[in-house]
């Protein structure tokens, strides 16, 4: 169990050289014998790449699994929207890749704020993921002869990204979903769709189940288990406008946090450089255009500020390919945080196109070189989507893009076993914090989700079950009743306010505070201001929220209100974390801390740690615990993509 009594956190990383840690650990962990596995019940929240693969793999081992999802089917989890690809260190192209190089690129890409041992393990199992998915029938792109194809992604100089056209997330998710459906058919997994997790059941300090609300009937259910696995995704929707799906929320993570799970590095949010710009106040979400487009698309703005000519009328000499200019060795394939800041810098300096908050992503040269058909084969669905949304044809005119909130590297703190500070609560995928540091490289979210679910949790959960005393807990145990009443009470509170403002309007306002003060650039005064504004808005929320309908039937505006209520609390923690971290790293850019060339300036002396926050009460200050980060195998250095 993580020991936080002295203010530092024990990550339980095994001793020994980094390349031997996982093997050694797998040997040292206790096992549950095959005949006993069927005596253990595990609940898994979320059915994305991490949750779906975890539920299926644990059921294959013989555990009894209950799988919960908020959508009407596990196949709809937001992993499905990942477009570009998944990394692995296969080195099939023979271009110099290796586990070490993937490890190194990921640590560097994360701006030296991730845990080395976890990242090495991630790189190690990456190859097994490709094998497993190919065997499941995931239709990865292949060469004519039948071997697997690769393409390039940001932050790497090798081609290590496997892909299924522009729908890699969809295909990997369907692979995990199908594995899950197979276990449902066998009876090893019980499926609970349209359920929202509203509390964690903790008995004698150990996580023993969850409280969910059936979104169709409004009924609350308690599900007691021997271990709880949460894979409920990231919190990007705290910004309201993001590339996340509409139901993505922080509620499950936040309720775990309130029950004792520390929340790590919430300020590490990824702003993705290539998204379709906002077009109006009614906008409900932003749409990503895959990073893979930067393989062939060239990013530029006019050299003259406020140039209003149509892009085709701007001659070559008057175009500023600013990524190629500033970062000649990585060019258009610099990591996301770098590309986003560079776009913001150009737009803030008056060189933006369209309404001013956009840059061009231009395919003219690749179409000239390879022809439209080749481009269509690689990116057809993305171009189609772009045209649907903007009514412009990207084969003819350059795309207009602007950065948008996309992924959250922070999350529930977990140790090397993916166990949170509440024993028995394991957190996987985007919901945890451990592998991406302060910035995630492209094509590594899918890798991490599946690594956690297919190849880490099936081992580490056994150790927990084999070494923890797990007395029988019935549904009428006081801790179960208390959690149930707590969840029910909060929903009733929302219904009782009877104010005048909708949950959506509160959410939008919270989002604009977050984006204005805690978006791509942050400073101390702005962050302090934001905390005050969030506190005020939260007070207004609890006085003036309007929810119509009742709690005993399907009620989407009630569901939304509950999620916004949690974002109101969580948003303050995110900003608090951003204010405390007096350095710039990855997606966290503090204006006070930058180099003369406007690059992020880290402070390894004082901030080379994971900031994990302990919940003390809604209007109380959270307590900071530190996990010091050690870099033994990748030397701490200033990131350079020049």
């Amino acid at each position: 169990m993580p020991d936080a009594s002295n203010g530092t956190l024990n990550s339980h990383v095994p001793d020994g050289p980094v390349q031997d840690k996982w093997d050694k650990h797998r040997f040292e962990m206790k096992l549950v014998n095959p005949a006993n596995k069927r005596k253990f019940n595990i609940v898994v929240g979320g059915t994305g790449l991490a949750g779906g693969s975890a539920a299926a793999s644990m059921a294959e081992l013989g555990y009894n699994v209950k799988s919960f999802c908020i959508q009407d089917s596990p196949r709809r989890a937001h992993s499905i929207a990942a477009q570009g690809g998944i990394n692995a260190a296969k080195n099939y192209p023979n271009d110099g890749d290796s586990i070490w190089r993937l490890f190194y690129d990921t640590v560097k890409g994360g701006d030296y704020r991730s845990r080395e041992a976890n990242v090495y393990r991630l790189a190690q199992v990456s190859n097994q993921i490709i094998d497993q998915c190919a065997a499941q029938g995931v239709p990865f792109a292949r060469e004519y002869g039948g071997t697997l194809s690769n393409r390039s992604f940001g932050g790497a100089q090798v081609s290590r990204t496997f892909y299924c056209r522009g729908q890699t997330g969809q295909q990997l998710l369907l692979g995990a979903y199908q594995a899950l459906m197979r276990q449902v058919a066998i009876g090893k997994v019980q499926l609970f769709a349209r359920r929202e997790m509203l509390d964690l059941i903790v008995v004698d300090g150990v996580a023993r189940g969850i409280v969910v609300r059936d979104l169709v009937t409004g009924k609350f259910e308690t599900h007691v288990a021997d271990a709880v696995v949460m894979a409920t995704g990231g919190y990007g929707n705290v910004f309201y406008l993001s590339t996340n799906a509409k139901t993505c929320n922080v509620t499950a993570s936040w309720r775990c946090h309130k029950r004792g799970a520390y929340f790590a590095n919430p300020c590490y949010t990824q702003i993705h450089p290539t998204c379709i710009p906002q077009s109006g106040d009614y906008q409900s979400k932003l749409t990503l255009m895959s990073e893979s487009l930067r393989n062939d698309g060239r990013v530029w703005v006019p050299k003259n500020a406020k140039d209003t000519r149509s892009p085709k009328d701007i001659p070559e000499a008057e175009r500023d390919y600013y990524l190629e200019r500033r970062y000649p060795s990585f060019g258009n394939l610099v990591p996301r945080d770098v590309a986003s800041r560079a776009a913001k810098e150009r737009c803030d300096s008056g060189f933006g196109v369209g309404a001013g908050l956009a840059v061009y992503l231009d395919f003219r040269d690749v179409i000239k070189r390879d022809g439209e058909e080749v481009v269509r084969a690689k990116y057809g669905n993305l171009f189609h989507m772009y045209e649907k949304i903007t009514a412009e044809n990207p084969y003819k005119v350059p795309m207009r893009i602007y950065p948008a909130v996309h992924y959250t590297m922070g999350g529930v703190w977990v140790d090397y076993n993916l166990q949170s500070t509440v024993p028995g609560l394991f957190v996987l995928g985007e919901a945890n914090f451990s592998d991406h540091g302060a910035n995630r490289l492209g094509a590594s979210a899918l890798m991490q989700g599946l690594a956690d679910g297919y190849f880490v949790i099936p081992y580490t959960i056994g150790n927990h079950l084999a070494t923890t005393s797990l007395p029988k807990v019935s549904d009428d145990h006081p801790a179960v009743r208390e959690a149930l009443e707590n969840a029910r009470g909060r929903v009733q509170q929302l219904l009782d306010i009877n104010g005048t403002r909708t949950a959506d309007s509160f959410h939008r306002q919270l989002g604009s505070i977050m984006w204005d003060y805690c978006g791509m650039a942050r400073n101390k005064d702005g962050l302090t201001n934001a905390i005050g504004q969030i506190q005020e808005l939260r007070q207004e929320f609890w006085k003036n929220l309007k929810v119509v309908g009742n709690g005993e039937s399907l009620n989407q505006n009630l569901e939304h209100a509950g999620r916004v209520a949690d974002f109101m609390e969580f948003g303050e923690l995110l900003v608090t974390d951003a204010r405390h971290r007096e350095e710039s790293c990855g997606g966290h850019f503090r204006e006070e801390h930058q180099t003369a060339e406007n690059e992020a300036l880290r402070d390894d002396e004082n901030f080379c740690y994971v900031g994990a926050w302990e919940f003390k009460g809604v209007d109380e200050e959270s307590t900071l615990h530190k996990e010091e980060l050690e870099f033994k195998d990748v030397k701490l250095a200033t990131r350079s993509y020049k």
């Binding site: 089917s73 029938g137 292949r142 459906m181 039937s553």
Partner: protein, 253 residues
């Protein structure tokens, strides 16, 4: 062309599965042509909540056309008038000022209405449970390049695997058949070497489950292909039929 529209919406309202349900008409003014169809419904819902009325329930999630959650009948067409486009990707520039738009849920016995425009599509999950997978436990896989899949086969598999499971094929079919959905999965896995070991069992079980769920039979009207936002072609159904016959003739299952 004006940038805003004034619309009349005829929306199906049904409190729950057992309610009879009826159309309700709503006026919506100043709808921007740049909005997506679902954003237009968001605006309607904000208006309804402000008036103290229950918002219209509809399924939606990614709003990028890939999760398959959204889907309603718009003026009698599944996902509306645009080719290969989900409801969330349909934009209001497709409509004219003064239009009346009729919005209904998918209608099929196998998709009972949950509320308003939301239906229960768990029958599609059960078709996948019947065999829409490759039986390979985690850890059992050979190297990804050990089993070669020629690019052409992979392409055919990918075309079929693109199905988003929205149910538009069922909703647009006069028989409420799930043939295109089932065929897409059968084709995806039958085209790949990895899926061939179980091909007979798979097609027989999935078709049996389809019947079990009360989906209708296919009478080749091709409405499913016309409605499919993921571009799945009816040639997948041909493939399913061949797979089915092959299984009947050659297998002992």
């Amino acid at each position: 062309m004006s940038d805003t529209l004034n619309l009349t919406l005829r929306v199906w309202r049904q409190a729950n599965r057992d309610d009879r349900g009826a159309f309700h008409a709503y006026r919506l003014e100043g709808v921007s042509t740049h909005m997506s169809f679902l954003e237009m419904l968001d605006v309607l819902n904000e208006q309804l909540i402000s008036q103290g009325e229950e918002p219209v329930a509809f399924d939606h999630d990614c709003r990028e056309g890939i999760c398959g959650a959204c889907g309603v009948m718009i003026n009698g067409q599944a996902h509306g008038p645009d080719h290969e486009t989900t409801t969330c990707q349909l934009h209001m520039r497709r409509f004219r000022d003064g239009d009346t738009i009729t919005i209904e849920p998918w209608r099929a016995t196998s998709f009972p209405v949950v509320k308003d425009l939301m239906v229960d599509r768990s029958s599609l999950d059960r078709i996948i449970q019947a065999g829409g997978f490759v039986s390979v436990n985690t850890g059992n896989a050979p190297d990804g390049n050990a089993v070669l899949v020629p690019g052409a086969d992979q392409n055919k598999a990918m075309d079929a695997a693109a199905c988003i499971g929205c149910g538009a094929c069922v909703a647009s079919c006069q028989n409420a058949s799930a043939m295109l959905f089932t065929a897409a999965k059968v084709t995806h896995l039958a085209e790949l070497a990895q899926g061939r070991a179980e091909r007979s069992q798979r097609v027989l079980s999935m078709v049996a489950q389809m019947d079990e769920e009360s989906f209708g039979g296919c009478t080749n009207t091709y409405e499913c292909e016309a409605a499919c936002p993921a571009g799945i072609k009816v040639t997948a159904i041909t493939k399913l039929n061949r797979e089915y016959l092959r299984a009947l003739v050659t297998s002992d299952v």
